[in-house]
């Protein structure tokens, strides 16, 4: 394993050091350097200590990234494949337009998590947030799966205002009955069926493995599933049709 001391290095130098390694690296003392592991492929396994800058794992293409603490904005921006595990909380716009791979977060996410996520053929992006999320969760979501578990303890709602604004594809699983949450008109909500919970296991198993939760405990709750009304998604956007 290669140890990269980030102090004094900019993002280009860090990424160059990663590329020059045999693939397994630990970046220490990170302080706001952006684009770490951008575009990294399957051979790379990174551990990040300190605070990685914005767009951690942008365009990720198969690599695995583990972050010891928090990460900032735009984690996994446009990622295509791979896995990002954050053992803290993350900032705004996580998984922006991601179309594959997995983002697992122990803590909470900021605004606009999963904005414009999309799926394509065999590609299905998945994001699992342990705590809560800010407003505009799944904004313009076009595909993929977002799971929010609500394991936070600050008393706030599992999701902020205006979730699913402009959502027209994909699904959301919220570990709550969501009685206080107002969803927009163009989405449907229902409580997860047994079959859906079965599917949920696929997403929760890696989360439990990463952070040491029990799958049974997490599954033993009501989940609200949100899907877009895709029968006529543009109805009344401009005129009634």
């Amino acid at each position: 394993m290669k140890i990269i001391e980030a102090n004094g290095l900019d993002c280009r130098e860090i990424n160059e050091a990663v590329r020059q390694s045999d693939g397994v690296c630990e970046i220490r003392g990170c302080l706001g350097q952006r684009f770490i592991a951008a575009g990294a492929g399957e051979n790379f396994r990174l551990t990040v200590r300190g605070v990685p800058g914005n767009a951690l794992g942008a365009y990720l293409n198969g690599a695995e990234i583990y972050t010891e603490g928090n990460a900032q904005d735009a984690v996994g921006d446009t990622m295509n494949a791979g896995r990002i595990v954050v053992n803290g909380s993350i900032g705004d716009a996580a998984g922006y337009a991601m179309r594959g791979g997995m983002i697992l977060v122990r803590g909470s996410a900021g605004y606009r998590a999963g904005i414009h996520m999309k799926a394509y053929r065999e590609k299905l992006p998945v994001m699992v947030i342990g705590g809560r999320t800010g407003s505009f969760l799944g904004e313009y979501q076009a595909g993929g799966v977002i799971v929010v578990l609500g394991l936070h303890d600050d008393g706030k709602d599992i999701v902020g205002n205006f979730p699913c604004t402009g959502m027209h594809g994909g699904r959301l699983f919220l570990r709550s009955r969501c009685e206080r949450i107002r969803f927009p008109k163009q989405v449907h909500t229902h409580l997860a069926s047994d079959a859906e919970k079965q599917e949920l296991q696929t997403y929760l198993t890696p989360f439990c493995e990463a952070f040491g939760y029990s799958l049974e405990t997490l599954l033993d709750a009501d989940y609200t599933v949100v899907t877009p009304d895709s029968k006529n998604p543009y109805r009344q956007m401009y005129v009634a049709n």
């Binding site: 302080l31 900032g91 900021g110």
Partner: protein, 364 residues
């Protein structure tokens, strides 16, 4: 001649940060300069600046006016006008350090002044209103002279350059304050110039801002009815005047001011408790022209405290952390860690949710 702000459009990011000691303990400017280093890429070298509070205790009862002059003639005119309006207790150059990173330096002066009592009684104005009017008069009528700081026991320092260089240029490690704000500029619409760097200050209220105000002209037209003149040709200036109008002239608190400029959506107001709903409705209705739309994160500094605020859609990032009696605010967590590696309770306020930090009564 180089184009000025407003004559050219350059399509941004910016960096803001702040630190405040709730116990009033004074910190050198070095801490806040450190915060700007990990956010280097959020600026492009066209503007950096700082505001420090509690930095002039020896002149605490005098207004500290910081001025840029383009040339000797504007300085002559500026000083003439100052002498007509104020008792000038001290006039000096603001100490700078010559460094290659900062060039095209204007004449930078500092005056500690008291308004002439005879003028105040003749004009029937209170001190603060008189200072505001004089600042506006200099900035609008004297070509090449700009007052960029005008509060008591505080000062703004700004220049064209990267913020970490601007801090070295102004020797901020030699000042000690209980509260500091900082800004790294990445001009959105216009070229950078010295007067256009942040913070924008009127009396003791200063604003650092990351974002772009979509409602600028609506806000400007409203605020100009009350004697404020937007002369620095960049949008942030208007936030400073809005804060002065709402807080000083209308007597609103910091959180009420936040409910005006980042008023919650009607759908959010609808869901509040009756008393709160009535208040929010009143504020949003009476001051509807002061709603600021478009993306922003700002830190508003004032004597004894500061307020951090995001636009209600939260289109810009902002993080808050704490350690002991100190509270840190920045565009990125990395900036907070640069000031205090052991910072705790890191959290991101929601859009439109003000974070107000007051220094304990009597501690500054």
């Amino acid at each position: 001649m180089k184009p000025l702000e407003g004559q050219v459009r350059i399509p941004s990011g910016c960096a803001i940060s702040a630190v405040i000691a709730k116990d009033g303990a004074r910190m050198s400017g070095r801490t806040v300069i450190e915060s700007m280093k990990p956010m280097h890429e959020r600026s492009n070298g066209l503007g950096g600046g700082f505001a420090g509070y509690g930095i002039y205790p020896e002149y605490r009862d005098l207004y500290a006016l910081h001025l840029f002059y383009q040339d000797r003639e504007s300085r002559r005119q500026g000083e003439e006008l100052l002498r007509e309006s104020f008792e000038v207790v001290q006039a000096e150059d603001i100490p700078i350090r010559k460094i290659p990173a900062i060039t095209d330096i204007p004449i930078i002066k500092r005056y500690f002044v008291a308004p002439l009592q005879s003028l105040l009684s003749r004009l029937q104005l209170d001190e603060e209103e008189f200072v505001v009017r004089t600042v506006m008069r200099i900035n609008t009528t004297l070509d090449g002279a700009y007052v960029f700081s005008s509060g008591k026991n505080m000062g703004t320092f700004k220049a064209v350059g990267f913020p970490e260089d601007v801090g070295v240029f102004y020797r901020l490690e030699e000042y000690e304050g209980y509260s500091w704000t900082a800004h790294g500029r990445y001009p959105t619409n216009t070229p950078g110039w010295w007067g256009g760097a942040h913070p924008f200050t009127l009396l003791d209220r200063s604003v650092v801002h990351n974002g772009e105000i979509s409602s600028y002209d609506a806000n400007r037209r409203f605020i100009e009815m009350f004697g404020y003149q937007c002369t620095l040709q960049t949008d942030t200036e208007v936030i400073t005047y809005i804060a002065d109008y709402l807080m000083r002239r209308k007597g609103l608190s910091a959180s009420e001011t936040a409910s005006v400029v980042a008023a919650p959506f009607w759908s959010t107001i609808e869901r509040k408790e009756p008393e709160e709903r009535e208040k929010l409705t009143w504020l949003r209705t009476v001051f509807s022209s002061l709603l600021i739309t478009g993306p922003f994160s700002i830190v508003l500094g004032y004597t004894g405290g500061l307020m951090a605020l995001n636009d209600r859609l939260k289109l810009r990032s902002m993080v808050v952390g704490e350690k002991g009696e100190k509270v840190y605010i920045a565009s990125e967590e990395a900036a907070i860690r640069a000031m205090e590696p052991e910072a705790e309770n890191i959290w991101a306020p929601a859009g439109g949710e003000p974070v107000i930090v007051q220094v304990k009564e009597g501690a500054f």
